[in-house]
Symmetry: C2
Subunit: 420 residues, 2 copies
């Protein structure tokens, strides 16, 4: 019996590392005024066929349920978000600033940075077309990564514009219905020889388009609609985290305006995050019921965790968080087995005050109990023994000791905690 | 486009209510020295066929993945736990006290208290056969529910013993291989006429067994192996939360010792939680690789949420938690649009100190901005206007006002927060 390929078990250490990422995502999003929502893990398959993101449809975990409904494990959140907002649009004031930390499922080849399941922070702003919304969204991307301990030395947000490329394409005489093909070519232009790009462009039948003109625009394209976004981010002091890079076009067909991807500066990893504007998607997905400008991004946990492992400051910050999550505050050592019931009563009293308390479930040598206390990261050991109804208290880090009546122990620990 | 039957959308309010339950579960389990783990949402279908819990196999969301593997959405956690522990048993000191808050999927008829997906707190103790482990587990069940604001007036843990019923059955001459059938009959004995029970018992061909003898044992069965568990729970002051009730046998075949179910006292709802010992299951599931005594319970979110809605003290506690989760601490009112960039710089400064800050993304009437601040539950409104570089601060609850230089605002707010 094994875990399926591309799926993960979360043993306690793995689970704590996952929870660190989910918690940090949530705190950053909420600090920026985003509110959390979630949708079902299983959706009607049709929901994913409406959007022209053809690649994801081929990667679905889809099947017929016992009621013969075509269903699929969610591969992304945008269709669910569109469905939910379309159903209850009037209940919420615009703009909506919503986030979620869903798990997604895609049948892809498992490799570094990519499994068949992963978590993603998804944040979206719905109902605002101004550039200030784009800046607000990108500020969240930057601040989330800063919260993990990364600096402008570690990552960069590459900003681009579908609008700029659309103008470029139309200016060269390109027809609107072949835009998507053109974006696919631009997406590859920096990674393949110019001759190949020229060949692909020739297929579009637009006379003036050459690899040279495309690469020149990648190099020299001027900020255009990106200028107010950059200005806003600079006012926030986040200018060093952003670069214009017209090589970014994003794979999915539904983007309409500003698009961006986030990369580690070392270029060792896949994109950390990506997103952009999709002003027409809600209209399309809701059969015209809702028409809201929109933008959003996704940031996956797998590449992020790789980068945390690679950057010492980020690793230290995670380790410090995990140490605070230690399994127990107080370990109760039962040195005299006949006092076990008195000891469990004391355990209950301490837990009722909010302390994390553990103790041995059966008779155990005192030395082994102290070992267990150390291994669990306990701050304090309390010994129930011959002194009962008094107990010995031992601060494990400092070896400091005290003898306290058991009835006063909870107060004693609280006072000590306040002083520390 | 609709949500699948039995599945839930979590709009922001629903999501907060869900998160309240998940957070409360996690905090209670950790206070009791349990550590969190998780497994994959999708597992090999075979994993669920090994166990004799036939009912769940018929309710699987199962299918062939794109690699022709038979896979299933997890309907329960025990098989995953057994698989994980069998794979790395030696890495962990016994006893293990592990918990998880997984989402499960079962194709059942949706009705009050039951959907096709739900969350469950699962807590297990592995590697300890002493009754003190049973008491420790049941203490967690009780304390979790107390954390939600329930008292002994609201719920009761009904304790029973498979061992006692096994002895009863064997004492009457019942053969071991028909025990499971006998348990099914006991399970129904209080709900159907005694004649029906007699009929069913006759089918077992054990001369001395009658409805009368079964019901007498339900009524008069003596504590037996439950006595030390009860004594332990009484020492903790939790005696009023527990009752012996031999009518409880639990449906699943794999239980071996103590079993229990938790019910609301009003009897309006399905069971809130259920569990027991399954000392032979890990051996069976791991093909003999691991042999650990074990016990655990599951507590679902749907019945629990119904009961929270029904019990005023529990509802108030949830509402207080949700109020603290408010969308923002500070709402920044931009009264002078030309100062927008200065305002967003201030937003960034405040967020960097950990405050939750929101503001209007485009020019908005000041009155509307104050409305938004109230609706978001902001504590403080900060007005960027003609006074810039000073700002006006307004405490929304008290209408108290102050004028502060923008550069000193973060400190001013921090001092105020400390004083409050």
């Amino acid at each position: 019996m094994k875990t399926l390929p591309g799926f993960r078990d979360f043993y306690p250490g793995d689970c704590a590392r996952r929870n660190y990422i989910l918690t940090t995502w949530r705190e950053a999003a909420r600090r920026h005024g985003f509110v959390e929502y979630d949708g079902p893990v299983l959706e009607s398959s049709e929901l994913y066929q409406k959007k022209s993101g053809g690649e994801l449809v081929g990667q679905l975990f889809d099947f017929l349920d016992k009621g013969d409904r075509p269903v699929a494990l969610r591969p992304e959140m945008t269709p669910t978000l569109a469905r939910m907002v379309a159903a209850r649009e009037r209940d919420f004031k615009k703009p909506l600033k919503w986030f979620s930390v869903p798990q997604f499922f895609r049948y892809e080849k498992p490799q570094r940075g990519r499994g068949r399941e992963f978590y993603q922070l998804n944040a979206d702003i719905l109902g605002e077309s101004a550039a200030s919304a784009d800046a607000e969204l990108i500020a969240l991307v930057v601040d989330v990564l800063r919260d993990f301990g990364f600096t402008e030395q570690d990552f960069v947000v590459r900003l681009s514009s579908r609008t700029a490329w659309q103008k470029f394409f139309a200016g060269a005489g390109g027809p609107a219905d072949r835009e998507d093909e053109f974006f696919q070519i631009v997406d590859k232009a920096e990674r393949i020889p110019p001759e190949k790009t020229d060949e692909a462009l020739a297929g579009l039948g637009v006379a003036g388009l050459t690899a040279e003109s495309v690469l020149a625009f990648v190099r020299d394209g001027e900020p255009g609609e990106l200028a107010p976004v950059l200005e806003n981010l600079k006012a926030r002091g986040l200018g060093d985290y952003v670069e214009i890079d017209y090589a970014i076009v994003r794979g999915l067909a539904y983007y309409t305006g500003i698009v961006f991807e986030v990369f580690d500066r070392s270029k060792k990893e896949r994109a950390l995050a990506g997103g952009g504007r999709y002003d027409r998607l809600l209209h399309l997905m809701s059969d015209g019921k809702v028409d809201l400008p929109a933008l959003g991004f996704g940031m996956g946990d797998i590449v992020l965790e790789n980068l945390i492992d690679d950057v010492p400051a980020a690793r230290e910050r995670r380790d410090a968080w995990m140490a605070k999550q230690r399994a127990c505050d107080v370990y109760l050592v039962i040195a005299k087995e006949t006092e076990r019931l008195a000891a469990v009563a004391l355990v209950q009293t301490l837990r009722d005050t909010g302390l994390r308390v553990d103790f041995p479930l059966t008779e155990t040598k005192v030395g082994k109990q102290f070992q267990a206390a150390e291994q669990l990261g306990a701050e304090v050991a309390v010994v129930v023994g011959d002194e009962w109804p008094e107990v010995k208290v031992k601060i494990l880090a400092t070896r400091e000791e005290a003898t306290v009546p058991n009835s006063g122990l909870a107060d004693w620990l609280r006072t000590r905690q306040k002083e520390a």
